[in-house]
């Protein structure tokens, strides 16, 4: 039980790309446990979106409020700065646009 994860070791022991609603029962995981973390990334909730947030880079002051208020972890940071929306998952709720103190985010109709 003392095994520690080696650097770079693959953490996803359950390969969910092999599990779908057509998978035979013998190939599902025991007790439907998933031996991995964060596999929901492979499910793209961006499909749900009917309005899309657009960032106006000129107005953005990198205060990170938008990233904090996002219910879907869709505003990632890179090197201390927010980068483009994760449109694969953004559901278009509009919280970021409303919360932005600098009006740097605009909601556009459609995906």
């Amino acid at each position: 039980m003392k095994k520690k994860l080696a650097k770079g070791e693959k953490t996803m022991r359950t390969d969910i790309s092999r599990i779908n609603e057509q998978t035979p029962h013998q190939e599902l995981t025991e007790g439907l446990m998933v031996f991995a973390g964060g596999t929901s990334k492979y499910f793209e909730t961006g499909e749900w979106r009917t309005r899309t947030p657009i960032l106006n880079h000129d107005l953005c002051r990198q205060c990170m409020v938008c990233s904090m208020v996002c219910p879907d972890s869709c505003i990632p940071l890179k090197d201390g700065e927010r980068v483009e929306f994760d449109y694969k998952h953004c559901k278009g709720c509009g919280i970021c646009a409303k919360a932005c103190p600098f009006d740097a985010i605009e909601m556009k109709e459609g995906r």
Binding site: M1, K2, I19, T29, V34, G37, S40, Q62, M68
Partner: protein
């Protein structure tokens, strides 16, 4: 406690992955993310989850949104389930079966149904036994997962599907249960009540204290539900602000029995400001129902005075 640097905080890896199936604009996951950000990066966590919106949406086989180990057991027993995990951790460490230099923290999430009501016994037991864990209630004031039925956390007069406002009814007839006080009376290490503020500092500090204070802790976080409260999804931060500024949702903490206000509005706003934007209180604004709003205001005032007294103010 560490000083609060938003940039540093947001640069941490998100412990709740995208791709979960919560509604667009859900308050619960905003709260979960904020709590998990308080975990130190080097620490591992086991998350327990009561059945509810969060659970059915965040681990829909084979998609788990949780980057940490996660266990959902049933609706009414997140407290007991996590106390089993925490005890296992203690004993396996003692027996030398886990690496000494790796540390785990234990956090349970439950909605108000799984916490205030059906899970109350299990929560009370876990808190009384003093397991080194945090139980976080994401309180959206009704059973949202099953379609907005009233809970003991639902405020008075709210229009829910089991307390509908109608010709002979003004909505829910009882005041909400004050669970944070009840848990504080369990003599636990730490209790915090919070919600979302623009910089999330209040919630972050409380989450960090709850996680890193040894013993049982409880966090009560108001996490609005746009569907159940009936407001446009994008307005969530304004709804939270109004809840705090009207003193409907006071921000306080109880550290080893010592009560403290963590925010006091400069000018307490009238309760109408919180009620008006929400469809669930629409009937209160019909002509002739002014007395209901007065009653609501009186209850908010009474509780606020009571809290000030507890905080020795």
């Amino acid at each position: 406690m560490s000083s609060y640097n938003v940039k540093e905080m947001m640069s941490k890896k998100d412990r709740l992955a995208p791709g979960h199936r919560m509604c667009a604009g859900c308050g619960a996951t905003i709260g979960v993310r904020a709590v998990l950000r308080a975990l130190h990066e080097e620490d591992h966590a086991v998350i327990a989850n009561a059945t509810g919106c969060l659970e059915v949406s965040s681990f829909m086989y084979p998609y788990t949104a949780w980057e940490d180990s996660y266990i959902h057991n049933a609706f009414e027993n997140a407290g007991a389930t996590l106390s089993g995990v925490e005890t296992a951790y203690k004993v396996l460490k003692k027996k030398g079966k886990l690496p000494e230099d790796e540390h785990f923290k234990f956090i349970a999430f439950g909605g108000d149904g799984g916490t205030y009501d059906i899970g109350f016994q299990s929560l009370s037991g876990a808190m009384e036994r003093g397991h080194d864990m945090v139980y976080v209630c994401y309180d959206n004031g009704a059973y949202m997962n099953t379609g907005i039925q009233r809970s003991s956390a639902t405020p008075r007069f709210a229009d829910t599907t089991t307390t509908p406002a109608g010709k002979c009814s003004d909505g829910k007839m009882q005041n909400r249960k004050d669970l944070a006080s009840i848990i504080a009376d369990h003599d636990v290490a730490y209790v915090g009540q919070s919600t979302f503020t623009l910089n999330f500092n209040d919630l972050h500090q409380k989450a960090e204290k709850a996680i890193y204070t040894e013993g049982a802790s409880f966090l009560n976080i108001m996490t609005p539900c746009p569907r159940g409260w009936r407001y446009p999804t994008e307005d969530i931060m304004e709804i939270c602000r109004l809840a705090v500024e009207t003193c409907y949702w006071p921000m306080f903490e109880v550290e080893h029995g010592k009560w403290r206000l963590t925010y006091e509005p400069k000018k307490k706003l009238p309760i109408e400001d919180f009620l008006r934007p929400q469809g669930r209180f629409k009937h209160l604004f019909k002509p002739g129902n002014e007395h209901l709003i007065e009653q609501f205001q009186a209850e908010v005032d009474r509780r606020w005075e009571d809290l000030l007294y507890k905080c020795n103010r």
